[in-house]
Subunit: 195 residues, 2 copies
Amino acid sequence: MAGQEIEDLVKYLARLPGLGPRSARRAVLQLMRRRETLLDPLSDALQAARDNIKTCSSCGTIDTRDPCTICMDPRRDESVICVVEDVGDLWALERAQAMKGRYHVLGGCLSALDGVGPEELNMSALRSRCAKPEVSEIIIATNATVEGQTTAHYIMDMLDDTPLKVTRLAHGVPVGGELDYLDDGTLIAAMKSRR
Amino acid sequence: MAGQEIEDLVKYLARLPGLGPRSARRAVLQLMRRRETLLDPLSDALQAARDNIKTCSSCGTIDTRDPCTICMDPRRDESVICVVEDVGDLWALERAQAMKGRYHVLGGCLSALDGVGPEELNMSALRSRCAKPEVSEIIIATNATVEGQTTAHYIMDMLDDTPLKVTRLAHGVPVGGELDYLDDGTLIAAMKSRR
């Protein structure tokens, strides 16, 4: 159909979540049509990401600095650490501006089925961060899935012998949500935690 | 949320067709998680595309060679030229292996609304290719839209004074299509061209 370079580009773009072979071909055509405004900046941005992006040695998020922007920000409350499963969860909380403290990215959640134990996650670093004198609260913000809840319980057990305040995100009705469309588990949780 | 490099990458990925800001963020996370298998090869493929991809000076398609692979292929029938609007249309015909001749990519179609006249399209090159002695048939494969049909009529008028055989793609029922779901225009065309 065209040169090997184009076939390769389609192949790798099709591996991105949200794109398949057909939409990857459309993306390549768009890239070729808009070289200055799309192909060149995207290629530069990928190259820059490849060269500069590191995993923060303290919290485990990805950033262009190590320690990351959040860990180095003096305006953030260093007494609170919010534990999340993934970088995407951290980004979601940051977009919502829901957290003013630091984060800790586990890199997944405990899963017996997938063979993910505490050693595979960023757990020992969390333990040593929790031992620091300035830390007073741990907010566990793992997902509300079975694996996420298991991970939350594991962390609570692990921190049981520390004087830290350990909290979890509230369950309840999403803001703007209609009761009729909610599952029973959420409704029961919302009723139990009524204020 | 993270470094400027990551924000840039999200911004440019979100401009690809089929991706929005949310799916671009998911794509970036995937790229970061799979550096060796995704980020590095995609970055290399984009760089190679940027360095090597040219527009064929004969037919107007994109390829890594100029003249392109199709124009240089001696096994292809050089007496037939198939006129398409876009490189995507050429790729579609190539995937279907529906054409054994050469192509000519117009780069769009005539559109009074968008101010696209014959000068904006690859028309004069088509005219000079049609004057070559080895060419005997022109297949007009523009889209079955109003603009595509206008463009087809324009090309037929343009080639009226040549001895070339000018044909167009047949209209009819798509293979595997059900009559009940087809529009009236297609049904009328299929009935008219019955064989």
